[in-house]
Structure formats: C-alpha cells, structure tokens
Amino acid sequence: MSDKKENRVMTKNTNPWFEAWRRLLQSKIGIAGLAVIIFLILVALLAPVLAPYDPFEQNILARYKAPSSEHLLGTDEMGRDILSRIIYGSRISLQVGLLSVAIALVFGVSFGLIAGYYGGKLDMLIMRFMDIMLAFPSILLAIGIVAILGPQLKNAMIAIGIINVPRFARIVRSSVLSIKESEYISAARALGAGDFRIIFKHLLPNAMAPLIVQTTLSIATAILEAAALSFLGLGAQPPSPEWGAMLSDARSSLQRAPWVATFPGLAIIFGVLGFNLLGDGLRDALDPKMKNV
C-alpha cells in the first residue's frame, strides 16, 4: 500500500506515462512484445494485400497439399490455402482479444469502482458475486455461457468478456480502496467535488497502471480462450478461419497432414506470446518497484 504512494510521489515531477513508455522501450521483453503486436496488427490490417488466395475459396479436389511454392503453408481439409487463412485469422483473433477484454473492462471497472468507493453492503454484494464467478474454472464458465447463448463467435466473445469481469473488478477495487483514503481525495471532497468527479478524475486515473497490465495479459488469455472455445466447436463457426477452429478441423488429419494443425497452432502461440511479453514489459515499466521486490 505505502509502496504505491511513494511511487506516485517519486514520479510526480515528470509525466508518469512518458516515464513508463521510456522504461518500456528499455526493456527487451517489452520491445519484443510490442514488435509482435505491431506485426500482428499490420498483418490484420493488410490481410487483403498480403493473402495470396481467398481464404474461403475451396478446392475439394486439392485437399491436404503439402507446403509448396504454390501454397507456402499447404492446403487444409477443404483445399483452402492455409497461409491466407492464418492471415485473415489474425483479424478474428485480434478482434476477439480486444472486444472481449473491452467488455470485461467496462463491467469489471464499473463494478470495482462502485464496490471500492461506496463500500458497505453494495461492496459485499458485488464482490461476493465476483467470488462466486471466480470459483468456477473460467473455461467451464465460458462453455456454460456459450451453451446458453448458442455457439457463435460473437457469443464466445461475450462469454470470455464475462468470465474476465471479476479479475478487473478485484484489481480496480483494491486500488480504489488504497487511494480513496489518501489526502488528496479528502482535499478534493473538501473542495466540493462530487462522487462522479472523484471517481473519474481522481480514482480511476490513479488505478490505471495495474489495469493496463491486466488488460494486456487478458488479451492474451482471451485469444487463447477463444481458440479453445472454437476448438470445441463453441466459438467461430465454419468456414471462419479462426485459428482454434482451424486447429480443431486439422485433428482428423494429424497423421496424414501435420502441417494443417501445425501452422494455426504456431499462430496462436505467436499471438499469445506477443501480448504476454508486452504485459510483462508493461508491468516492469509501470511499477519499477515490482522488479526489485
């Protein structure tokens, strides 16, 4: 608790965000993560330019063709070009990662702020509910939610968003609890600031650092969870080139055509790794104390 307070005092002379950015660029891990993510974003944006073929075009008489100059990563069970599908799949994975985490952020932060700031029975109610959600293994909860909503990518995103809500709520609440007793909050209140102003102008910005780290790491797990749901047939539906769905369809040909499963698998690793590295880099950058502890 007191660590954080000192930290804030220490960096108050320069812009703390600029400071963090500078530290991120000094960390090799952070740069690697950033590079991977920028690469992924570029691939997703430029997919129509980069992809050599239409990712949906089938040629069922040319199934399971091994990688060659014609199809760099080979063809899949429907005779589609795997490289093109992975390139287009990056759009889906990024979208899933960002949107589902956005859902988790909006709800998690709101719950955390309300619970932490107002305390009492409301806090009790919200946080015990969050505890109940955390008590379920997250993928099981996601499967349950998708089972109710129906197996679609959209619903998988919602499910992943929902299962991540409690984590954000906890982080924000604990930050709020430590900040709200500090003197500048009392000062703001003495100056007549309303709840709304205090929450959004003072509490939230000061709870931002752990939130950013958690967001980045959550994107990584969200991509993985979406791939898992699609693998189970509960997320993206065919013929969507979602990486997890591609992996799932490749199972039946694992022996005969291993490349069909290998490349989407590598793509998932790559994407998840990128966000995890960035998350680690950000954690170090935003909270230098952590590293030394």
Partner: protein, 520 residues
C-alpha cells in the same frame, strides 16, 4: 423356392470356404477388442434406438428370426419355422427346444408372449424403463397391429394381426426385438437395462459406463459355442484417436474409420479393410415450413447445385455412390429409371430466378456434429455444400448443436435445412420411405397425401410384385417433390487386424460376432 436356392448357395459357399482355407482350422479362444465411437446407451434392446447399443445387445439376445450374415434375408433363429394364414393376419411360429436363458430358465412360448405383451401393452406391469420406441415405430403404436399373442403349446406361438403387414417377418428379425428372460426383467425392473439376460452367444460380464462393455462366451449356447472367449467393446469417440489405438495394437478392430485413414489401412501389413454392404442414405433436407423451401423450384435448384461425385471423391475416399433416391439400390424396389437432377449450377440459377430469388437469400444450414457412417465428416461436407450454394448466389450459415440436441430439434422440425441420414434396419423399402418421408414421420414438414396413400397401400399389400410397383411410384413422387437433396449411399469401412477371421459385416449396421475367430 427362392429361399431354398439361397440356402443351398450358402451351404455351398461354406463348404467352399472350408476348402479354400484348407488346413487353417477355426480356433477357439481369445479376446477381441472392438473400438467404436460411443458407449452403449442401454442393454435392454427394446428401449434403445442407437447402433452402439444394438452392437452389444445383438450378442446377448436372439430374435425369433434373424438375418443371414451379410444380407437382410430372413433365416430361422429362436423360431425354427413359421407359417402365415391365407388372409395374412395370423402368423404361427414353431420355437426351438432346449434353449436356455443365461439365468438358466428354459425358453418357451410363454416367454415370447410375455416379451411381446410387455412391449405392446401399456398397462403391462413391466411396460417400464423407457418408451419402447422401436416397437411403436415398426408396429404402429401400442398395442399396434399385433392384436394378440397366443401360446398354442410350449413351443408354438401365434400372432394375430389387426391388419396385414408385408415386412412383418423382416421386422421381427430386427435387433430391438430380442427376447429377454422374463424372470430377469421382473427382478431388475427399471434397472434391467444394466442387467441384460437373453439367450445369445455372449453374456454380460461387466459394463463400465462411458468406457467399455465386456462380454463372455455363453457355454450353453443353443448353437455352437462362440469362438471368441471374450469381446470388449471400447468407446473411443475421436476417429483418429481410435485409429491410432488400432495402429498401436490396443484395439483389434474399429468401425467409423475416417476416410482420411482408408489409404493407410490398405497399405498396412497388419490391418485389413472390410466394407459394410451399403444400405444407407445421407441426405440434405429442406424444411417446408421455412420460406423459400416451400417452393419446389428452390428445392430442385438445390438438387442441381451440389456436385455429389466431387464430395464422394473428397470425403468418402470414393467409398460411396451418389444418391438419386431416398433409398439405396441394394434394397428391392429401387427405382433405377429415375433421372437424377444432374450437377448443373446454371440450371440451378435459372430455377432460382424463376422462383423469384435471382438475388439469392440467406438461411441456416445445420451440419452433423458427429461422424456417422453415411456422413463421416459433417462439418467438411457442410462447408462443401455451403460453397456449392454460394456458387448459385445463396448464403448458407453453418449451424450445429450437440448430437442429442441436434436430433431432438430436427425431429421437432426446427431446422430450416439439415444434414442427416439413415441406415436401414431390415432391408424393406418401407423402412426408408415410410419411416423417413411419410407425412406422419417426416422431419422437414414434407406432407404429401399422394405419397402417404401409396406407402400405406404398400404396407398392406402382401403381393411382392405389387409392392415393387408401389415403391417405384413412391420414389417418382418423391423425386418430383424433391424434399431432400439425397447425397450418397456410403459403404462404411471397418478396419481390423489381419488375424481376425470370418467377420461378415451386415448391411443393417450391426452383426453377431459369435462366428468370428482369431488366427493364432
């Protein structure tokens, strides 16, 4: 007459096979591990409808009559011979003597009556433990067309029907109508499905639900004792995982071989491929309750849009033939004069334009969530169909559910279009056309009175030639109305170790294994 020649043929074939196999004597003993896609649902055959249950119950129970291995011809089993009255309503069966149930009770005419009464009478004290689905299916409800079952003497039983049923004998040979020991049913009540007692070649040793069923040879079997001492049915849901187990030797045979693996089985020295005679249909149905599938031009357009041969080459390893009728050519009464809707996307587009859908439309296409013998790769074939349909400008959204939900929802006509199939139970055209497409049974709201009249007449006609004519006509009506796109009749492959001898797959999808033996 026909029967005699067939029997002679079989005897000859058997004698021949002895010569051919020469010194290789059939050996007693050994365990066979059979890998399959799912566990048995229950072991009371009248209460189940799935092949994975029948596969096991068929070893434990006998029926009054049975199918000659590899065919749907009827041969004696618990009944040694039978006759039918002039009016076709009274069937008299002479029963085999000296047959014992696994619990030691003798098998008599009383037991036959007791079993049929239990199935057909809803107020029977042991009409419990399920819905007796197949009884209602084949004999038209409860008590259905079997009006009375009379015990004439200890080894003679008489069935009185309220109306003629041409495929009566074929129906009796179906696996669900295995005769259970009344004492065992009384003892176990609702739990009988876990404690099966029949007269069959094998007895239940252990059933570990979700994992395996273990059967032991019945030492007192009324025919020759089974060659194998033990059969283990293991459930391994994933086709490729099951195939890996076969390759590693932890199972001895498997069905549901994925077409991708057929080539590898054929080239292996330790494995061989056995092909189940084709008696099935895989189809794509369009639901009349959903626009625009109430328009025959749209349904015909879809029939023209799909290249069945390409699908067979890609997803069946060639082990199928394109379907033009809802029943397979292996069944008598098949109408080969039907001119199929050929693959012709231009024609399909014309038909769509005529129907007013030149700009296409969007709909849900339900694809099979599990591999079935008639459609081994539902997801892939669904995507192929989706792609063919997008060629003619319509957008199909692929949808699926878990298998039991899928079946339930299609049965309640909730699917706009769906893929499904059927494996014949008894080799009669009625078992395809009436069961799948009659207005009382269809899952896609296809309700043709014209077809209904023909099918019902065919059920009540005993004259074979007349029945053939009627079924030919029925297929023409169906072709004209195009309620489905009939896709394929597949020849499901089964992979087994080369030392497994005398395995004869039956077209009905399951078979008795008591004549199977292991070399060395």
């Amino acid at each position: 007459m026909k029967k005699i020649t067939l029997t002679t043929f079989i005897i000859l074939a058997l004698i021949m096979s002895v010569f051919v196999t020469g010194v290789m004597a059939q050996e007693q003993g050994g365990t066979l591990v059979f890998g399959r896609g799912g566990d048995t649902v229950g072991l009371d055959p009248i209460q189940v409808t799935d092949g994975e249950s029948f596969k096991v119950t068929q070893q434990i129970y006998d029926t009054l009559v049975d199918y000659t291995p590899g065919t749907t011809e009827v041969e004696p089993a618990l009944a040694t011979d039978w006759e039918v009255s002039e009016d076709g309503l009274t069937w008299t069966f002479n029963l085999r003597e000296n047959v014992e149930f696994h619990d030691g009770n003798p098998f008599t005419a009383e037991d036959v009556k007791w079993n049929f009464d239990r199935w057909r009478l809803e107020d029977h004290p042991y009409h419990i433990g399920g819905e007796f689905t197949y009884y209602g299916y084949m004999f038209q409800g409860f008590p259905g067309i079997i009006q009375e079952v009379n015990v004439v003497d200890d080894y003679t039983v008489e069935f009185v029907l309220s109306e003629k049923q041409a495929p009566f004998l074929n129906n009796l040979a179906m696996v669900p109508f295995g005769i259970a020991s009344p004492e065992a049913v009384k003892e176990h009540g609702e739990d009988y499905f876990k404690n099966p007692v029949g007269t069959g070649a094998y007895t239940l040793e252990e059933w570990r639900q979700g994992d395996r069923v273990i059967l032991k040879a019945n030492e007192n079997y009324w025919k020759e004792r089974a060659y194998l001492d033990e059969i283990v049915f293991r459930s391994i849901p994933d086709n490729s995982a099951r195939y890996m187990e076969l390759q590693s030797g932890s199972i001895d045979m498997m069905d549901g071989v994925s077409p991708e693996d057929v080539e590898s089985v054929e080239s292996s020295d330790e494995l061989k491929l056995s092909l189940r005679p084709s008696m099935n249909v895989g189809y794509f149905a369009m639901n009349f309750n959903f626009e625009p599938f109430d328009d025959v031009r749209v349904r015909r357009a879809f029939n023209h849009a799909i290249d069945k041969q390409a699908i067979i080459d890609a997803f069946y390893a060639g082990l199928a033939e394109p379907a033009k009728n809802p029943m397979p050519p292996s069944i008598w009464g098949y109408n080969d004069n039907i001119e199929p809707y050929e693959y012709n996307p231009e024609r399909a587009e014309e038909l769509l334009a005529e129907a007013g859908y030149e700009d296409g439309f969007e709909f849900d296409l339900w694809y099979l969530p599990v591999p079935r013998p008639y459609i081994p790769q539902g997801k892939f074939i669904g995507q192929a169909i989706q792609s063919y349909l997008s060629d003619i400008g319509v957008t199909a959204n692929l949808v699926t559910y878990d298998w039991s939900t899928y079946l339930d929802k299609t049965e309640h006509q909730e699917a706009p279009t769906y893929m499904l199939g059927w494996t014949g139970d008894n080799g009669d055209p009625d078992n395809f056309l009436y069961v799948l497409l009659d207005k009382t049974n269809s899952n896609n709201a296809y309700e043709s009175d014209e077809l209904h009249e023909v099918l019902v007449e065919a059920q009540k006609t005993m004259d074979h030639e007349r029945r053939v004519e009627l079924y030919m006509e029925a297929q023409e009506i169906i072709h004209k109305d195009a309620p489905w796109v009939p896709l394929v009749h597949s020849t499901p492959p089964i992979a087994l170790k080369t030392d497994i001898q005398n395995y004869i797959p039956n077209p009905t999808g399951t078979e008795k294994l008591h004549r199977v033996w292991l070399e060395e």
